[in-house]
């Protein structure tokens, strides 16, 4: 249930964080796995109408889903597991309709260093995200990309930083 004092955190989780959560060893100590576990728990609490100070909305687009499937295929992960992971990604998140035109329009605006991840940026801007969670130091965790995202009020953080921020907000 949402109150006037509820803080809504809207996240775009990059594919590398999803992969880290799936493949991290040991899983229990992985910030990516801990973050996704927390998001799933909060998603259930939200649907059950439980009172929460912080609610989290996870965002997805077909571009992100496509990248996830592509990476899983490249790793030769069995087909039934790919289907299960892509399904879970859609079950726990809210759909943002990002078209090719949206990503093309961003190409002019976004810094060149982030051009490989325009689908992530477009999903975050169109879905009114507050954070992008990623391990990508080459494209998204760069000063240029962070500065660009700040214009839209979006922070680019690692899973560990996101967990810290949620703790600061009073969660979990």
């Amino acid at each position: 249930m949402r109150h006037f004092w509820t803080i809504e955190v809207r996240l775009v989780v990059d594919t590398n964080v999803r992969m880290a959560a799936e493949l991290a060893f040991p899983k229990g100590r992985s910030p990516a796995a801990q973050l996704l576990q927390l998001l799933h728990k909060k998603f259930y609490n939200q649907l059950a109408g439980r009172q929460q100070r912080v609610t989290i909305v996870l965002l997805r687009s077909t571009g992100l889903q496509n990248e996830l499937r592509d990476v899983l295929r490249r790793l030769r992960i069995p087909a039934e597991e790919i289907a299960a992971i892509v399904y879970e990604a859609s079950f726990f998140s809210k759909f943002v309709d990002v078209t090719e035109e949206d990503t093309d329009a961003l190409r002019v605006q976004a810094p060149p260093v982030a051009h490989d991840d325009l689908h992530v940026i477009a999903c975050a801007i169109k879905g009114k995200a507050t954070h992008i969670v990623t391990y990508d130091k080459r494209h998204l965790l760069t000063p240029e990309a962070k500065r660009f995202m700040r214009r839209y009020g979006i922070k680019v953080v690692t899973p560990a930083e996101m967990l810290d921020e949620l703790r600061r907000l009073g969660d979990p």
Partner: protein, 115 residues
């Protein structure tokens, strides 16, 4: 599929070619094409064709999307998969990945996977 049974498509999709249930090929004015998904809840989205994708994979995405949306609706009615069921499935999956030698020693290395 007959015109009568065809779901109501957005105007810009009128020339869309139906590939299989819910999946369309949309021809754009520039002579290119992209894919379109028409969902049972009456919503639509387009899927970039910039990177080649098989019909099998398009179906995988379409099914995941339909099932995800349906299960979210069921959850609101108090039905659908429980968190414990999902966590058990994730654990089983991880054990399998470990057996296959796919686990990462440093999870930051996952950044290289989607580069």
């Amino acid at each position: 599929m007959s015109e009568r049974k065809r779901p109501k498509l957005p105007p810009e999709w009128q020339k869309a070619e139906r590939l299989t249930r819910g999946i369309y090929r949309l021809h754009t004015p520039d002579g290119k094409y992209r894919y379109g998904f028409a969902f049972p809840d009456g919503t639509f989205t387009s899927f970039s064709s910039r990177h080649p994708i098989s019909l099998e994979d398009l179906r995988l995405h379409y099914r995941a999307e339909v099932r995800g949306r349906r299960d979210q609706e069921m959850m609101r009615k108090g039905l659908g998969p429980t968190l414990e069921e999902i966590e058990r499935a994730q654990k089983r999956r991880w054990e399998k990945f470990k057996r296959l030698g796919l686990v990462l020693e440093r999870e930051e290395d996952a950044a290289l996977l989607d580069d």
